[in-house]
Subunit: 154 residues, 2 copies
């Protein structure tokens, strides 16, 4: 199995996982502290999906730290196949959550005057949370491609 930038048990892979965790946590934090987020199911789904991503990325970050510390080899076909399935499922759910929230946000901000009328809803914070979710998805997508490439290139 080739050694790739961002692969499991490498420093670059660990940085990607930490980035995913941080941006997903930031997305949850900003969305949960915004008033009125529970009015839209899409925003609640964003929190749930980012929560799943935090758990998944944190788990893999711990595995990367363990592998780096004890010089373990994670380049095993079964292990990497499991990572691929988990990564792709999480990435698809994250993109779905970010896009559905973005769709609702555009409706609130552009198609209707909800944001100007309902001043108690913090539209600016919704937008920041969605932006963080997209960054987190982008980092997860990078990890997913690297993992898939590793499995396919055996």
């Amino acid at each position: 199995m080739k050694e790739l930038f961002g692969g499991p048990g490498r420093k670059s892979g660990l940085i990607l996982r930490i980035g995913q965790c941080l941006f997903a946590s930031a997305s949850i934090g900003v969305m949960a502290s915004a008033s009125g987020f529970s009015a839209a199911t899409a925003f609640c789904y964003l929190i749930a999906s980012m929560g799943l991503q935090v758990l998944w990325s944190f788990g893999l970050a711990c595995l990367d730290i363990h592998a780096l510390r004890f010089n373990k080899d994670l380049y095993n076909h079964i292990v990497v196949s499991l990572f691929v399935v988990g990564d792709w499922v999480t990435a698809t759910l994250s993109l779905a959550a970010a896009c559905s929230s973005a769709g609702v946000m555009v409706l609130f901000a552009k198609d209707t005057n909800f944001c100007t009328v309902e001043t108690k809803c913090s539209c600016g914070m919704f937008q920041i949370s969605i932006a963080f979710a997209f960054v987190s998805w982008f980092l997860l997508a990078a990890s997913s491609y690297i993992m898939f490439w590793l499995v396919a290139s055996i």
Copy 2:
């Protein structure tokens, strides 16, 4: 390069492309004939994205027919790499469009009473169109994985 189910220049690949074209066209047709779709940007974006998918899948279906008819070999690294990039970009845009529309639809049908109040908006047709878009994305995602596997397994 391995010969794979659904690969370029194969009957299974052609069936996948025709399926993508049909479901994307059906999604556009149903959405465009539903009254009040232009009220939400997400629904307009769904039409644009499905339009792009129809063009892309139709082009590749024609290439598959050409390859099958004249027994041409499309298993060329550069050609398949181009297919991979196009497939992934189109698949990501399609999923984004389907999810943003689904987010808005859930807001209309569940979070607010928009569908019961605004009876001139055909909510049922919006839902059918979004379902077609998801089927079309699923078929495109299958093609994308096969193409990516082909490129990575060289």
